[in-house]
Symmetry: none
Subunit: 230 residues, 2 copies
DNA sequence: CTGATTTGTAATCATTCTGTAAGAAACCCG
DNA sequence: CGGGTTTCTTACAGAATGATTACAAATCAG
């Protein structure tokens, strides 16, 4: 879960950006001026900062250079002007990317993603286990493949994501809502059935006898789980 | 502690890059022209060199080839966007990577890190794999040629880069966005189709039957991959 | 400068995937 | 056992994705 700070004096923008970022599974912090932004940045471990340039009090460029004194966090600037002068100033102050208002929220999200990928790729690369196992069931998170007793099984993208989520939380029972929100990054509303059907389809593929599931077990009234060493 | 030499005639770039690298714990040496760079390289044990191509006096490409006469250190070139052809030239002169200006400092740092990791993990072994293979598909990364079952295949520059990227990450599934960013060094925004078409053209050339691809396989909803030992 | 090649984009086609609904079956509790 | 709830199963329409083709702009070679 990545933490992102959005700082703008326009509440409408703050709201809109927050929603888009949350839909992608990010944790959003808000600030409406430079001072607030710096405070949040000091007290929280952030992974990306989105700053408006034009703000009352301390402007975005000043915030940027203050942050750069001790942090390498990706900073994306927002500005109403599409003038090149601001752009150059922003980047030379230490910003990493630049979006001009009015902007397409999806583009902003894309840039956030890309910045975070680069930033985190600096740190401990690939310490995550790339193969998840439970009995004869194996899941290669890099090749995105699933094998049962050595036999490759073809699963679809969503099926894979559900399986991965269950495997990452092996031994824990997960409700259909939890699964839905983890996989779709959306509020789960009247969608319990959807997950159920996907589970069914996964079972069809990985279980010898879907009636007596060996891997994906149901816990009545609560949800599903995959045991360790099943 | 790794030593990195940054060489550029633009002091602003030098300053900015220095700060980013120092924040990551690197020891930074500076040079503002080719001659200086070579001097530093002779007298210091460096682990990575960042070179601007456009410099007064000796240009980056010349420096690269001079360095390559007796050193295997990773070299990353900086080039202005307009000098696109320089990229290919740069790599054939012996550079290991390139970044186009204006660049994202975090991206540069990421590339430095990746180069150093590769360099040191090889233990300065000269046996850098220059031929990538998967079944009958072979890719000579030095001659920049592709052969299928021994038969040479003519591919264009972008096609080659896509293939190389897929081959370097053999077994991993790569999304069209990942491919786009790796090959074009640009933000991937609304460009999914472009990669798709290139993949199609590559298949036309290397697959016996493009309908049933033997090498470049699609993973629905995720991306493309080339398997090991196909 | 001209013609050939390469490259990006858009439009269309084919296939695969996904959510929903509806009924059946399994489970829990009194 | 029986009612109420939860999960399973099936089928299907349309949504999403990748493949394919065509074309114009950009680039390159001679």
């Amino acid at each position: 879960m990545y933490n992102i700070l959005v700082c703008d004096d326009d509440k409408a923008i703050l709201d809109s950006v927050e929603i888009y970022l949350q839909n992608e599974g990010y944790n959003v912090y808000r600030a409406s001026n430079g001072i607030e932004a710096l405070k949040v940045a000091e007290s929280t471990e952030l992974h990306c900062i989105i700053l408006d340039i034009m703000m009352p009090g301390m402007d975005g460029l000043t915030v940027t250079s203050k942050l750069r004194q001790n942090k390498n966090i990706p900073i994306i600037l927002l500005s109403a002007k599409s003038e090149d002068t601001d752009k150059i100033a922003g980047l030379s102050f230490g910003a990493d990317d630049y979006v001009t208002k009015p902007f397409n929220p999806l583009e902003l999200v894309a840039r956030v993603k890309s910045q975070i990928r680069r930033y985190t790729s600096l740190g401990s690369m690939e310490t995550k286990e790339s193969v998840l196992k439970s009995g004869g069931l194996e899941l290669d998170t890099e090749a995105k493949t699933v094998t049962v007793d050595g036999e490759p099984v073809k699963v679809t993208a969503t099926e894979y994501k559900i399986l991965e989520y269950l495997m990452e939380n092996m031994g824990h029972v997960l409700s259909t809502n939890q699964i839905y929100e983890a996989v779709w990054h959306e509020e789960a509303f009247a969608t319990e059935k959807t997950v159920t059907v996907h589970i069914r389809r996964i079972r069809e593929k990985i279980e010898i006898n879907p009636k007596e599931p060996k891997y994906i077990k149901v816990v009545w009234g609560i949800g599903y789980k995959i045991d360790k060493e099943s």
